[in-house]
Subunit: 336 residues, 2 copies
DNA sequence: TTGTAGGCGTTATCAC
DNA sequence: GTGATAACGCCTACAA
């Protein structure tokens, strides 16, 4: 593999001059510049990025931490992030934590070992105290997940309010016994969602169904199981709020295989506006997040911090959600 | 940031000895080893990976090229690849080409600049002649996509045969006017699929409907459009083979909004066995690929090549598919 | 305008 | 067992 030295020799010039040409710097005669360019071509020279990294102390790479890519929400997120990062000449490393605290810390280690310049956390399972020390080694930005902290920028929606609004919608449709179905690791975000849900119930004087504690539902199969569970053990439930379109789809699907009718026997609200939610029969009411915009903003915020480390950045970037009302909640007998 | 030098000083030893401890090498007294470990702790020392890369000429990073992550097939693929790579201590860089030849070559450049040790191409849009030169800089492995080449390992299914079988199934169900719906960039794989489709038609003496040339369908929306297009312009079509479950889902969905019935007016076969295909009403007949196994094997093949460059590896790894027959093709009046 | 030389942090070689 | 030294390939004061 040709090095800068080889090019210099072939062109009969010094490494310095070659380096100037590589980096488009001035103070090189056009004639020598051409000679060097020719030499680089002849040798098939390409600058070695490891050497550059060592020298510059920068990797132009960022890590994106998320639970798993096949969750469409995170898939969309990283798709947009990669596109944006690529525009700025940055590489993206995928870091699937699968909700494991250890894996999360292992991947944060990339920051300490200087394998990446910065980290985006789209999911957070460790406590803040665990994460804080890594901040010494480079910037961290939260996206989607958030906390009561002001040390790192956070790009997200108000999940508490979104859940509140979704639940109010169920109540307006006449639901009185509403179950909360969730899954995945506990986090600030998931707590916020639950709070919003309970806010709405309390405000309307409705009971919080402590007995229906389904906290293990994360995908379509789980949704199907959850439906059967409810039908069998808590048949009085007439509405469900779940933080996942996949779970909602599972419920809708399994209901269609039973004698229950959605939404009349059971109204269902999902979250994220996945394609699935629109294609189900009945279509699923859901909360839409501006995924692409959040992803794009997150990358911008991180890269700006990398380019201008001293500048104090805005810490909160709150995006708007949108409740998309579809057939899974449009009860025939609606109570207003 | 503490360096190996700092640790050495604090422990009152040389960099060499510290390096030995870091790399678990013998020939260090237990007492000194402990002193060094303590010093590393005190300083919060972490080896700098850029320096290691430069020294070792290895990055322990691989690049995965694919069109876009949100295509669930590729999402699943990279999910499994990241997991496998992580087991071996390798990082994965996401490279979305969006079917662009230029982007594909740009990402292959990562190999030349030594930012990655190897490349997995899960999609290929350039000609082989364009790709070949990059092979000098490191190993490339194909997964999913393939070619008539023996220079790089290829992990894939026999798409021609899968399409052939799927089409035969449509014919057995009584379809006589079968449309082929495709999309995305032309490639060896897409050509193979078309061949398999035509093989079946020819073998059964059925017409190839040249007039129905839908080659622009890649997602659900396109599927919906395609259905309307067929219904309006080619109402005699009674079967559709499409290389995408999303397109199939769009067709099924749009049909359900019309007076056509699936499968009796139109039988539909998709590809990939996405969750979608199972949840649609009617559920969609599709071809299942062993995605996780292919992904996992691909990473293994690549890493083995990195670890043992001289060993000649098996070039073809052909996996089995499975035709999953569901409601979208079970015509009531089936002709055998 | 061009070149010399040192150092980024690590590890392999060789001498002690 | 341990340490001095060179080298990986690049960039950049500083000198000329």
């Amino acid at each position: 593999m040709a090095t800068i030295e080889d090019v210099a020799k072939l062109a009969g010039l010094s490494r310095t001059t070659v380096s100037r040409v590589i980096n488009d710097q001035p103070y090189v005669t056009e004639e020598k510049r051409q000679r060097i360019i020719q030499a680089m071509r002849d040798l098939g020279y390409v600058p070695n990025s490891s050497a550059r990294r060592l020298r510059s102390q920068r990797t132009e790479t960022i890590a994106v931490l998320l639970p798993r890519i096949t969750n469409p929400f995170f898939g969309n997120l990283i798709e947009s992030m990669e596109e944006k990062a690529s525009e700025w000449g940055y590489q993206v490393i995928v870091c699937q934590t699968h909700g494991s605290k250890k894996k999360e810390l292992d991947y944060l280690q990339l920051l300490k070992t200087k394998q990446v310049d910065g980290v985006i956390m789209a999911s957070v399972v460790n406590e803040w105290e665990e994460i804080l020390p890594y901040l010494e080694s480079g910037p961290i930005v939260f996206c989607n997940e958030y906390m009561d902290e002001e040390k790192v920028p956070m790009i997200h929606m108000n999940h508490r309010q979104a859940s509140y609004e979704a639940t109010c919608h169920l109540i307006e449709q006449g639901c009185r016994q509403i179950a909360y179905i969730t899954g995945g690791p506990l986090s600030y975000l998931s707590t916020e969602r639950r709070r919003g849900f309970q806010d709405a119930l309390v405000e309307h004087g409705l009971p919080i169904l402590e007995e229906v504690d389904i906290d293990w539902a994360i995908d379509v199969k789980d949704g199907q199981k959850a439906f059967l569970h409810i039908k069998k053990r808590f048949p009085y439930v007439d509405g469900v709020f779940t933080g996942s379109d996949e779970v909602a789809a599972g419920i809708v699907y399994e209901a269609s295989q039973s004698d229950w009718s959605i939404p009349d026997d059971l109204a269902v609200v999902g979250f994220d506006n996945q394609m699935l939610s629109l294609l189900m029969v009945p279509s699923v009411t859901t909360v839409e997040q501006p995924v692409r915009e959040m992803a794009s903003r997150t990358v911008e915020v991180l890269i700006q911090q990398l380019l201008h480390p001293q500048v104090v950045v805005k810490k909160r970037h709150i995006f708007d959600y949108k409740l998309l009302i579809r057939d899974s909640t449009k009860k025939k007998v609606s109570v207003v």
